[in-house]
């Protein structure tokens, strides 16, 4: 029975990150930023369904969602990560404050990309097909051994001209940039 509970808990955690389990006990600024992350997850969940063509494309929904993400990014995100706010219920890693400039950069990138997503909302989805990784920041193809993963965010004009799902994927990559380095992944 306990093994089953443990497995179920691990699976639940894997599905919802650590959010559900950790959020239930967090307080103060840790809770506030977890709530912010949850708000963004809600948007990503809704919009990704659109990107997978499970629901009709709705540019207005994209704009609204992008606005929510933008509101939780940049300085609004950074002020929720004061020094010493790791530990306890938090899943923030201490590297955040060791690499603050980098962390700051990612938070700002998210804002830029969210704005780009709003601007690209009317462009619609890219042509369906097997093209892999065509909508990344990197400009690398799957037939090249090259390509680093620390790429610059394209200009607002470039973002505004991209397919909506292209920019959406870049937003997801911005989320991943922090999650890969600064969030503790525990089952």
């Amino acid at each position: 029975m306990y093994v089953r509970i443990t497995l179920a808990g691990a699976a639940l955690a894997s599905l919802t990150a650590v959010s559900v389990l950790a959020h239930s006990g967090a307080t103060g600024i840790v809770k506030e930023r977890m709530d912010g992350m949850s708000a963004m997850a809600k948007v990503v969940k809704s919009l990704s369904s659109m990107m997978r063509k499970e629901v009709p494309f709705d540019a207005e929904k994209v704009r609204l969602g992008a606005g929510i993400i933008q509101a939780h990014s940049g300085d609004n995100m950074l002020r929720l990560f004061p020094e010493g706010s790791d530990g306890g219920m938090s899943v923030a890693k201490p590297e955040i404050w060791e690499d603050w400039k980098k962390f700051e950069g990612y938070a700002n990138d998210l804002g830029l990309l969210a704005r780009g997503l709003a601007a690209a909302a009317d462009n619609g989805l890219a042509m369906a097909g097997g093209a892999s990784n065509t909508s990344t920041m990197m400009g690398t193809s799957s037939t090249s051994m090259m390509g680093t993963t620390t790429a610059m965010v394209p200009s607002p004009d470039m973002l505004a001209a991209m397919p909506t799902d292209g920019v959406f994927n870049m937003v997801a990559q911005a989320c991943a940039a922090c999650h890969t380095q600064y969030r503790l992944e525990k089952n």
Partner: protein, 296 residues
């Protein structure tokens, strides 16, 4: 007392003999002189799928492609991925295709030393000769980087590399890929990828005290991964119970976005960023079909 001393000396001599024999125990297979023409584009794709680029590039610290130096912190110490560029001193520029084939498929270095299983060579056993030729061609396109990677920083007794020969004898299975009869081509392609190049079980299967995977708990998740994180269970029952579908699983491997709207982080985020996001729609379908055990 004299008896004890003699016994002790005999024991020490035996121990020394064992260590010396281990050093000389030959494990290198015969030459694998692959004469096929390799396709560098296909090889690069395979390198993405196999995690070569992800592990041998220190991306987060701005490392040059395939120049190594990525730290993998484990219970055995810290491993640093080697430099695989075409540099003849710091990289593999002086290797032959046979050296490369034996390293990748058998886990043995050109001078006969066993690689630590931190390099997931057991999974690469299933590469065909053409796969190896393609990979080799791709690796020839990597610009040389003269800076060597860092030496392995392991705890005793794991610094004694020849001890791995015992590990190999105990835990290494000499198996290539066998498709499962009765399953579709797509499903079996997924099986090849998951059990081979993508080496999912390297993280998602728990290991025993010696660091060998526990086969009976395949893909049941594992704790204590490098960096202190956990890998969730991804066997069929668990995935289906948590509401994963073919569409959402493929999407997650392509974009990192999970059905809950979270974006996968930790090492899996890196796997996606540097690996699975580059895979074709067909291959992502195959992986998902196999893991979810779906059939049309």
């Amino acid at each position: 007392m004299r008896r004890l001393f003699l016994l002790g000396a005999a024991g020490a001599a035996l121990g020394l003999l064992t260590l010396v024999s281990l050093e000389f125990w030959p494990i290198r297979p015969a030459s694998q002189d692959i004469n096929l023409t390799g396709d560098a584009g296909r090889g690069a794709y395979l390198a993405r799928m196999s995690g070569c680029i992800a592990c041998h590039t220190d991306a987060e610290n701005g490392g040059a492609p395939l120049a190594g130096g990525l730290a993998l912190r484990t219970d055995f110490g810290t491993f640093y991925s080697p430099n695989l560029t075409t540099d003849t001193d710091a990289g593999i520029g002086s290797w032959s295709v046979s050296d490369f084939a034996i390293a990748v498929r058998n886990g043995v270095s050109p001078d006969g030393k066993p690689y630590y299983p931190a390099f997931p060579y057991p999974f690469y056993r299933s590469f065909s000769d053409q796969d190896v030729a393609d990979l080799w061609a791709a690796f020839q396109t990597v610009p040389p980087v003269a800076t060597p990677s860092k030496p392995q920083d392991l705890k005793l007794p794991f610094t004694f590399r020849s001890g791995l020969k015992i590990w190999r004898a105990a835990f290494l299975e000499d198996q290539g890929f066998t498709p499962t009869e009765g399953k579709s081509t797509v499903w079996n392609r997924g099986k090849f990828i998951v059990e081979g190049p993508a080496h999912c079980a390297a993280c998602h299967t728990p290991r025993n005290f010696a660091g060998a995977r526990q086969a009976e708990l395949d893909l049941h998740g594992a704790g204590g991964l490098p960096g202190g994180e956990d890998a969730p269970p991804i066997f069929k029952g668990e995935l289906i119970e948590n509401g994963w579908t073919l569409a959402t699983f493929k999407y997650a491997l392509r974009t990192g976005v999970s059905p809950s709207g979270d974006v996968l982080g930790g090492s899996m985020g890196e796997v996606i960023r540097d690996g699975t996001s580059f895979l074709s729609d067909e291959d992502l379908t195959a992986i998902s079909t196999f893991l979810l055990d779906e059939e049309d």
